[in-house]
Amino acid sequence: MAIKSKRYEEARLEAGSSLELYWWVFMRISGVVLVFLLIGHMWMNAVIMDLNKIDYDYVAQRLSQTTWKVYDWLILALALLHGGNGLRYVLDDWVRDPVKRFWTKVVAYSLLAFIFFLGSLSLFNHDFGVN
């Protein structure tokens, strides 16, 4: 079960398993990191850059630099883990039927794993043709 506590000490007592406590801590740490990464990402692409000018060449230019590949991949990995675990909390709360809940999770996790694979491929394995 997801931890409902609002204090670390209580969360430690409430956690059914140490894995559940690790997820609880991970949500907080990844959350802080994601706030900064995402504000930077959005500021760069929507405030500094004109959104409507974003095309293949712009993306290629940006992703020709290793720094941005790593930056974007960090967002991808952390956001999928953070979002996937958040979705697990929501499904545990809102899908009551165990069979339905199981299959919803199978579909959701598979989709997220596929998106992680697809995103990683385009970041690291695709040659955008920019030097």
Binding site: V32, D50, V59, L87
Partner: protein, 121 residues
């Protein structure tokens, strides 16, 4: 722990914004990954997303990310400080103050381009 009023609104908005962001993330990665099918496919898809209706969606998304992020910091303060839970309501108004400060530049920039008709080719 808290029912009704600000605490409950904060909780529901956090969940809904979180789910919305996750859905966007899937579409966004699929869009960027289209580059693997070449510039033509990629540019066609991006041009499709430059329509004003998606820009409005993007404004909603940015609002969701900023709220979810700042409210997440509020949750962390409630978890790890001795006073956080006591001041959860005041903190929530702090979240909205931060939200307005960070959202305005996006609203002006993207809203301006929607109204100015500077979209697509």
């Amino acid at each position: 722990m808290y029912r009704g009023r600000e605490g409950q609104w904060a909780f529901y908005l956090h969940r809904i914004s979180g789910l919305g962001i996750l859905v966007f993330l899937v579409l966004h990665v699929a869009n960027i990954a289209s580059a693997m099918w070449g510039p033509e496919v990629s540019n066609a898809l991006m041009k499709f997303y430059h329509q004003p209706v998606f820009q409005i969606g993007l404004l909603a998304l940015i609002a969701g990310v900023l709220y979810h992020g700042f409210n997440g910091l509020r949750i962390i303060l409630m978890d790890f400080t001795r006073w956080g839970v006591r001041y959860q309501r005041q903190l929530w108004y702090g979240v909205w103050a931060l939200f307005v400060v960070f959202y305005l530049p996006f609203l002006i920039r993207i809203g301006g381009s929607i109204l100015g008709g500077g979209h697509g080719d």
